[in-house]
């Protein structure tokens, strides 16, 4: 453990400037004779000359974080519509933009704050097909079953209900009528979807990404889903029908499809793998899909097309499993480890290939072996809600399906039930969002930031966090007014690379975070380091690098910080920001650096405890939940890593 290298209170003013956001602040800290304070640390104004007067005219780096959800389903996803979702893509976009709508269970709903962007990622398999059956798409009406369904759905509700049930049953058995898998039909639907996205995309104000989810449940529920995000608009996106699992369940085929799209259209795509906790050991397997050894080409292809990973969403968090990091006191967080998507139980040895930190470590080891890192990804968050409602806040949680939209019973009902193997409603998480450091709110700027991994995931709160790595950061850099300018000038942002450490130098990191104005104060910032040691073994360590109330919280003999405490009032569902700090910033230097060893570093920002949605539900509905149900949580943000390579 390392003591905080910068006094927290002194650092507040530069953090505010760094983050370029409104936020809470404390009174200016007292200054001492040898402490000239943050104002004095600001750059001395240069004489006015050819550069003009404004210091910001040539600035090219991102100064704003744009918030969004890269994983949302609407009534165009077959499983969503089968579960009763009536909110379609247009309503979902309006909701994300901040409008009030009515949920599928009849509840008015609105976000506390609008989002800046949204990727509606409906399943590509039979996307929106139900409406085409109703409309009588001629390509579908060649099939007698679909023709009958069309008649039933246009007859009366009773017949429509029978048709819907029959369709659900046939899909569950994988026996959908062949025309429903017809690429030509899929292309028709895709064109309608891209038209909707185009209509709501408002460059500079709100970005509506063209996207879909490729939904491989290989082997019976082993979740290998990927969200495919387009940099492009309708003109390019329309040229190819999205890949479906009717064609292939192999992620390698998805990469080939992406390559084909890019070659044909000149466009650009990236894919974000679903959180891996439901893959039963397959998401980050250290072999190819067919079980062959990973080659350099394979690793480069995966890294190219999958620059991000969904580290948190409603079905749990996949940063690190507590059994893989027993000393990580914050690893036990919204863990789903019973089985795969069909709740088929896990076997020993699966978990280690499902979590981000393990994958990042294994990626280093593979890179040492084949010359490329297949798991070189940044961190994203999403909801994966199937309600059309991108809600990730604890006090505004509308569940995963209509069945888990607000009700007194949702906590105790089965969120999933596969042949008696169940996940309870209370296990769903109100998570998460992705923060993107981009130069503008456009498809191009946001996508480019995603590709360069200058993004981070949160479990819902809009915590603002910056991470820079370099070899020259000094303590006083954390006290400069324009901290980002220093960060970019002396280092690389999250998602970047460091290499060939100068002799005698260790990596240094400038890290700063500011609380979500509507959420809890910050407990601490941690740097998570992973590396490959001299023997080729993967290692990890979590450092507390700066923490709140540092004047009274000192690490114990075991190196652990005392708990920040807990102000949550279980009787009222409220908390007080009398603990924690609104902002934290420091410069941290790796104390155990070996320039010959590959490593990665990412920041984890931990909030103070706040009420979980279950506590708020118990109070709203007057229900008593069982002792197994968590009532508070410590929300968090995970930055994309910065990698170090000796060569």
């Amino acid at each position: 453990m390392k003591a905080p290298s910068v006094n927290v209170a002194r650092a507040i003013a530069p953090v505010v400037a760094l983050l370029v956001l409104q936020g809470c602040s404390r009174p200016p800290p007292p200054q001492t004779a040898d402490d000239k304070g943050p104002e004095a640390a600001a750059a001395t104004p240069a004489p006015v000359g050819k550069a003009g007067f404004s210091p910001y005219t040539a600035r090219s780096y991102p100064t704003r974080v744009y918030w969004g959800d890269q994983h949302l389903h609407t009534s165009w996803s077959p499983d969503a519509v089968g579960a009763g979702t009536r909110v379609g893509p247009e309503e979902a976009l309006r909701f994300a933009r901040g409008e009030e709508i009515v949920s599928s269970t009849g509840i008015p709903v609105k976000l506390a704050r609008p989002l800046d962007w949204l990727a509606v990622s409906d399943h590509s398999d039979a996307m929106g097909i139900m409406s085409e059956v109703i409309a009588g798409n001629p390509k579908l009406m060649t099939d007698p079953v679909l023709k009958r369904w069309n008649k039933q759905m246009n007859a009366d509700a009773q017949q429509a209900y029978a048709a819907v049930l029959e369709g659900i049953a046939m899909q569950g058995k994988g026996q959908l009528p062949t025309p429903m898998k017809d690429p030509a039909v899929a292309l028709d639907m895709w064109h309608k979807m891209t038209a909707i996205m185009e209509g709501y995309n408002d460059p500079g104000r709100f970005t509506a990404f063209i996207a879909y989810e490729w939904t491989s449940n290989y082997g019976g529920g082993n979740n290998l889903h990927r969200n495919v995000i387009y940099r492009d608009g309708k003109a390019l996106a329309d040229q190819l029908s999205p890949l479906t699992t009717f064609v292939s369940e192999n992620p390698e085929d998805l990469w080939k499809w992406m390559q084909s799209y890019e070659q044909r259209t000149g466009g650009k795509l990236l894919a974000i793998p679903h959180n891996g906790n439901l893959s039963n050991g397959l998401m980050f397997a250290t072999t190819t899909f067919k079980g062959d050894p990973i080659t350099r080409e394979w690793a480069e292809t995966r890294a190219r097309y999958e620059p991000l990973y969904e580290i948190t969403q409603g079905k749990g968090t996949s940063e690190q499993h507590p059994s893989l990091a027993p000393s990580d006191e914050f690893a036990q967080f919204e863990i789903w480890d019973k089985g795969n998507l069909n709740v088929v139980p896990k076997k020993p040895g699966m978990i280690q290939f499902e979590y981000a930190r393990e994958a990042l470590k294994n990626g280093l080891a593979i890179e040492a072996r084949v010359g490329a890192n297949p798991f070189k990804f940044g961190m994203a968050g999403g909801t994966d809600n199937h309600t059309g409602l991108t809600t990730a806040e604890e006090d505004n949680f509308f569940g995963k399906f209509p069945s888990s939209e607000p009700s007194p019973e949702r906590w105790s009902e089965n969120a999933f039930n596969f042949e008696g193997r169940t996940i309870k409603g209370w296990e769903l998480g109100a998570s998460g969002y992705t923060g993107v450091w981009a130069t503008a709110n456009t498809r191009e700027a946001l996508w480019d930031a995603m590709q360069r991994k200058e993004v981070y995931g949160t479990t819902g709160p809009r915590i603002t966090v910056r991470l820079f790595g370099g070899f020259e950061f000094q303590a006083q850099d954390a006290r400069t007014r324009d901290l980002a300018a220093v960060g970019y000038a002396k280092g690389v942002p999250m998602g970047g690379d460091l290499s060939r450490a100068p002799a005698g130098k260790s990596p240094t990191f400038l890290v700063a975070a500011m609380k979500d104005p509507l959420s809890g104060n910050l407990d601490r910032i941690q740097i998570v380091k992973g590396w490959v040691d001299a023997k080729g073994a993967t290692r990890e360590k979590v450092y507390d690098v700066v923490w709140s109330q540092a004047e009274r919280r000192k690490p114990g003999k075991d190196g652990r910080l005392p708990s920040v405490g807990n102000t949550v009032d279980l009787a009222t569902g409220t908390w007080r920001n009398t603990i924690g700090d609104p902002e934290l910033v420091t410069v941290w230097k790796d104390p155990e650096f070996d320039p010959a060893q590959r490593a990665f570093y990412y920041a984890r920002v931990i909030e103070i405890p706040t009420p979980r949605w279950t506590l708020l539900d118990s109070l709203r509905f007057g229900v008593k939940m069982g002792p197994e149900v968590p009532m508070t949580l410590q929300e968090r943000a995970y930055t994309s890593p910065i990698w170090y390579s000796p060569s």
Partner: protein
């Protein structure tokens, strides 16, 4: 991939575990016996799921009684409790059939089917001559039926005469589907239903 989801289905799933032992009647359409496919209702019967929300909101506001304590954890006790609920629903439907027949509300009233959305229990009131034939635990609605979607706590207050049907409709506790003229006829017939309060009920 279709997920089997919870909601009212949860009650049904619990019930179906033992239903074959305690319940009469045919079919798998009822959630007392099998997959209720609650979600599909929202498509075929637009906004059917709003009834569930209206019910819990009415319970929170005191318009409807709060649900009883948690279902017993003991499996046998749970079966007994669920069987009692089924019996109570059946008795209320029987009383409704009788009152409708006695009140002459059948004139011009089409057949209708009631769905209790919690347990997904379909019950059909089929007009046969000058009487209704009641089939509790039907497989579903018949073509042309008016479909009335509600839930157990609502049926309880309707059957006890504590709330007229029109009020329940206004509160979203009952939603009707069908041809507008048929819906109007059924609504009028049901609204004339004035069951005696529980303390004045005749015994049988």
């Amino acid at each position: 991939m279709i997920l089997r989801v919870g909601s009212g289905a949860a009650i049904a799933v619990r019930i179906m575990a033992f239903s074959a032992l305690v319940l009469p009647g045919p079919g798998i359409a009822c959630g007392f016996h099998g997959n209720p496919a609650v979600g599909a209702l929202n498509i075929a019967y637009p906004n059917a799921l709003w009834v569930r929300t209206a019910v819990w909101q009415a319970q929170l506001e005191g318009v409807l009684g709060r649900p009883a304590a948690e279902a017993p954890s003991d499996p046998f006790a749970a079966r007994v409790a669920l069987a009692r609920r089924y019996r109570a629903a059946s008795d209320r439907f029987a009383a409704l059939r009788e009152d409708l027949a006695e009140g002459g509300a059948k004139h011009g009233t089409p057949s209708f089917t009631v769905l209790l959305i919690g347990p997904m229990l379909w019950s059909r009131f089929e007009l046969t001559g000058d009487d209704y034939r009641l089939q509790v635990h039907a497989e579903g609605a018949a073509p042309g039926d008016v479909v009335l979607i509600t839930d157990e706590p609502v049926l309880e207050v309707l059957a006890d005469g504590r709330m007229p049907v029109s009020r329940a409709i206004d509160l979203g506790l009952v939603r009707l589907y069908g041809k507008p003229s048929d819906v109007s006829a059924v609504t009028a017939a049901l609204d004339s239903w004035r069951p005696a309060p529980p303390n004045l009920k005749r015994t049988s």
